[in-house]
């Protein structure tokens, strides 16, 4: 495929607001996970929480969208001059020619979860705001309106691959001429459904997550907002070179043990990028730190790359940001491309015996010309992206 230019990007997570905070944390090996203090804090877990969401409501014309997820979306938009970059694109192409494709797994469901605690004696729900908080489109609608864009817009919600798959759809929008620029990204915020849901499947660790470690005990959930601006212009310093999408066709919440679906997605991404496995300098793994994911992903990585391509999971820094993981980890790749380093697999000290890919436990300076990012979700939804500089 023709490379797609990435002309602006920004990430906000527990590492801080904007790219500089993330870069600094990655470089210094300083993670953002803290002991669970969310809501009633009854789960023994570590979480990647964004500070300050409670104090920054959405006010003014879009006040009806106010909820934790849209507050995070709003804060994310305000970093790194992203809003200004989009407004310039809007001036250049016209509001109708800029599309908005964002991923989330739970949108503003927290609002409804809390409303259920406040049901009246007849069981009625007083303060559900379905359209502006709960519905999966709420966040995309909020961002679209906050940027006054009029191009086509939708939410992609395929669990933890959501905000990787928006890149694939955006590339098709641009190629098909549906838009001249696309705001892609994802926003997912802490809520009870995911905290207790993953816990019910015994996938949540009671310590900071340790991807690929022999003693790993599961994931740490995080929240994040991230965006990138994709444009149909000549190659830029950072570009989307390829994407691959596949289904496991195996199980709703367990990956195929040989990483069959993951392998298919990575192969497609390389093939669309027109590069071989040896031309990838860094793989940002999905690496959730659940026993099953890390083993299956390692199998897929070894089958494609052998033991020669450096791999890390950055979920020890940010936590697993679920529907925002795709964009957050795409931005980790952009920082690796721009600043010439490969981030560590934080918190992990002894790799599980039997894992064979080249998993890095320490930061490493490296010239990164091309990076591949993996995102896999429940329902066996896989997406791999290749970025280049």
């Amino acid at each position: 495929m023709k490379p797609v230019a990435i002309t602006a990007f920004t990430a906000t997570s527990t590492l801080g607001r904007g790219n500089a905070a993330m870069l600094d944390a990655l470089r210094r090996g300083k993670g953002g996970l803290k002991a669970n203090d969310f809501d009633r804090a009854e789960l023994r877990a570590w979480i990647g929480r964004v500070a300050g969401l409670e104090d920054e409501p959405i006010t003014g014309a879009l006040a009806e969208y106010d909820c934790r997820n849209n507050r995070l979306a709003q804060i994310g938009l305000a970093q790194d001059g992203f809003r200004e970059a989009v407004l310039k694109a809007k001036d250049r192409y016209g509001a109708k020619r800029v599309a908005v494709l964002l991923g989330t797994s739970t949108s503003g469901i927290l609002q409804t979860e809390l409303a259920y605690r406040r049901r009246d004696s007849q069981g009625n729900l007083a303060d559900v705001r379905y359209r502006h908080a709960q519905n999966l489109y709420s966040m995309t609608d909020f961002v679209r309106r906050a940027l006054a864009l009029e191009g086509p817009s939708m939410t992609i919600s395929t669990a933890c691959s959501s905000s990787a798959k928006v890149f694939a759809s955006a590339a098709r929008y641009l190629e098909a001429g549906i838009a001249d620029a696309v705001v892609v990204g994802g926003v997912d915020s802490l809520c009870l459904t995911t905290m207790h849901g993953f816990s019910s499947l015994q996938l949540v660790s009671d310590e900071p997550c340790r991807p690929f470690d022999a003693a790993r005990k599961g994931m740490s959930i995080g929240e994040a907002a991230g965006y990138a601006l994709l444009e149909k212009i000549e190659p830029h310093k950072i570009a989307l070179l390829g994407y691959g999408e596949s289904s496991d066709a195996y199980h709703m919440s367990t990956p195929q043990p040989e990483g069959e679906g993951a392998l298919g997605a990575m192969r497609q991404a390389l093939s669309r990028a027109g590069v071989g496995p040896g031309e990838i300098d860094y793989v940002n793994a999905h690496g959730t730190a659940t026993p099953a994911n890390d083993r299956a992903e390692d199998r897929a990585l070894v089958r494609l790359f052998g033991k020669r391509v450096p791999v890390s999971s950055t979920k020890g820094f940010t936590g697993h940001t679920l529907g925002a993981a795709g964009i957050v980890e795409a931005i980790v790749c952009f920082l690796a491309l721009e600043h010439g380093f490969i981030p560590a697999t934080l918190n992990s000290s002894a790799l599980e015996p039997g894992l064979e890919s080249m998993i890095l436990l320490q930061n490493r300076p490296a010239r990164v010309k091309r990076a591949l990012s993996n995102s896999f979700g429940f329902g066996g939804s896989n997406c791999s992206l290749v970025f280049g500089a």
Binding site: E113, G123, S157, T158, R172, A176, H196, G197, G379
Partner: protein
Amino acid sequence: MLCGEAAFTPTPVQRPVPSLLPPAERRRCAPSVAWALAVAQEAVAQSGLDAGAFAVVFASSDGDGDIVHRLCTALATPAAAVSPTDFHNSVHNAATGYWSIGAHSQAPSTAICAYDGSFSAGLLEAACQIAIEKRPVLLVTVDLPYPPPLAPHRPVRHGFAAALALEPGAGLEVTLDGAAPDSLPLKDFEGNAAAAALLLLAALARPGEALVRLPLTERSLQVRKRG
């Protein structure tokens, strides 16, 4: 009904049994998944193609209200113990996950929401995939009424599910348009986002050329059917 020759009389229908799934999963999957698989199977059977030939686009505004209600009810209790099955079935892409398992298909799939414009957003995604990836796409759309405490906050009178097996050269042209969307041929389905598919189905049911405008946020998706 779609041709306006018969009147619509609401008739309760049984939740279908998705024969595609292993017996244990047939009863366990959510109603929205059962409906999605039932219409998807019918459309694929009519297409004459293998199920595995299709990429899948699932479009729904509201997902599965029964599961949302059960999860939120459980989360409001002191123990907040949710059913692990409800949790993994709560993802918006549950239907495509079950489809890939039942159809043994590793083809790409996606799950989309654009509130009242969800069907059109799904059709636009399907059209882009057909144009760029040059492969058949199965577009599946489902929206069902919400259970009582949520129903006043998202009033949907009747459930609706449809699937379209689309191939390159299917004779449909999709373009973005600034005009207002057409009104639904069956008024009873107003408020059900998936039922926007009725506009397209009505055009397909009638012989000859047709032009319909489907709802998409603040604008419409124009679909031209060649005769």
